[in-house]
């Protein structure tokens, strides 16, 4: 029974997501769209953090790379959402290659500080290059034009149809990340987290594999950024701010570090709880921080950890 529980949960979750898309109201669809986008961001982040133990404060920059990559492409080159997403992901990955090349030279606190520095460089550029990025206003008026695929044209202007595009890309991401986790590459990443000295003595270049994980997680951050931009029809420079980098870690912490479902469960809890609490009080941050403190002090396995009976 226990073996099939994850498959059962996954099935129920997928059915619920499809059902929400089919019959959910406007608000529920918007909210769930955000949950899915945050899930992609957090799952991607977890490739780096959950598997190699590297804490990055620069991933907001890659999120913004995806957001601005898509935005600029759609506004100035071609209003094609799918190509825009591809361009956004490519921008984010490229940025991650450049930044990662420098950052993976360090680990622990020095890595965290380096990613912070590079991430804030990107933020300051977005903030100051008004002519290109719109400065503090961001890019606006990014419209979800129909996706042209040869003779086919798929409209995604309706939140409901865009919802299914996000769902499809979420499933693709889950599939890819699952495969990565269970690949030889994924085993090396797990090894790096466990004992990096030994990984080197297995004949593996630590830097290259750290960089690999860095770029992969940056690419998923870019995907989340591109999708978020299409959802809101605009970008915000604050999506590149370091404090935004903390979001995927914090939701993953709630869901469960080092678990596959943790980032997704955490994202759902984070966004839904926030909506609920904000109905009653303005003090969402207070409650959120108390939840974080409780989890850090006593339940480091997160929700998934508690449910599966593991307390790390």
């Amino acid at each position: 029974m226990k073996r099939y529980a994850p498959i059962l949960f996954a099935g129920i979750a997928l059915a619920a997501l499809v059902l929400i898309g089919l019959i959910g109201g406007r608000f529920l669809i918007y909210l769930t769209s955000r949950v899915m986008i945050l899930s992609i961001f957090a799952m991607g982040y977890n490739i780096l953090f959950g598997r190699t133990g590297l804490l990055s404060f620069g991933h907001a920059a890659f999120y913004a790379g995806g957001a601005y990559g898509l935005g600029l492409f759609m506004l100035h080159v071609l209003p094609h959402p799918l190509l825009g997403i591809v361009v956004g992901v490519a921008c984010a990955a490229l940025l991650a290659v450049v930044i990662g090349f420098f950052c993976v030279r360090h680990t622990e606190i020095y890595f965290a500080m380096l990613t912070l520095a590079f991430g804030m460089m990107v933020f300051s550029l977005i903030w100051n290059l008004r002519d290109i990025t719109g400065g503090d206003d961001g890019l606006v008026g990014i419209i979800r034009t129909p996706i042209a695929l040869g003779p086919l044209s798929i409209p995604i202007i309706k939140p409901q149809s865009y919802y299914f595009l996000i769902l499809a890309l979420l499933l693709l991401s889950v599939f890819l990340i699952y495969r990565i986790r269970h690949s030889p590459f994924g085993l090396v990443l797990a090894g790096i987290r466990e004992n990096e000295k030994r990984v080197a003595f297995a004949g593996v270049s630590l830097k290259n594999y750290r960089l690999g994980a860095f770029v992969l997680s940056g690419a998923f951050a870019g995907l989340a950024g591109a999708l978020g931009t299409l959802l809101e029809s605009s970008t915000s420079p604050f999506s590149a701010h370091w404090s935004h980098s903390a979001e995927p870690i914090l939701v993953t912490l709630i869901g469960g570090l080092q678990t596959f479902a943790g980032p997704m469960v955490g994202s759902a809890v984070f966004i839904v709880l926030r909506e609920v609490i904000e109905r009653f009080t303005h003090n969402w941050m207070l409650w959120f921080s108390i939840i974080l403190l409780v989890i850090i002090m006593g339940f480091r396995g997160g929700i998934v950890g508690i449910l599966s009976g593991r307390r790390k």
Partner: protein, 253 residues
Amino acid sequence: MSREILKIVSLNKAFGRVQAAADINLSLQEGVLTSIIGPNGAGKSTLINILSGSIPPDSGRIYFLGTDITRLPVHRRVKLGLCRSFQLVNIFPELTVFENILLPALAAADRTRHLLRAIRRETAVRAQVAQLLERIGLQHAADTVASALSHGDQRVLEVGVALAAKPKLLFLDEPTAGMNPVERVRVLENIRELSHSKQTTFVLVEHDMDIVFSLSDRVIVLHHGEVIGDGTTDAVKNDPRVREVYLGQEVPA
């Protein structure tokens, strides 16, 4: 005459005022089981650390099968075929025994770059891993998490992880410390067998003189970072300088 696998030319290393390696010149031959002995602080660990790439030497050169590896990082040396095991258990504690061996085996087979291939499909490498596990006697524990093994089994696994990288030259740092007699015999048998089959050339760092003298073809004695004795077991046993260093310590004659 077998070929020269490792050549060390005037190697020096000092930590402050302590000379850990003093003008060491050595040539190791392929297939010759060599032991490095010496009192505590003789510089044995330092020598292994320098040769395997953890510490850079102050001066001198190291050639592995004719290639200068003095400045190569650890993982490149391992790729060339030079690996080591550790005195303290140094495994992947939260991975299973099978995965512990699988990781270096995949790296040796150059298959770690595959991002999307299921690890289950790596049948060839998995078969090698199963074989190695059987060889070191851990096949029954394949799916156990490494940290749950007994200390002795962890030591055996430590040697197994080093072997899985398929090294041409393998340094074993006190490989049998902390093992029970059964495990010890099994590991030593493995070393003897692999050494005879010439797949791997072993260099042992050992305190246990019984092991050293029963297993080695050649013994190198270090003292204060200097080579003070070098030769067959008999030659070393009867070397007056070696006897002097070990004075008061038991040397089986």
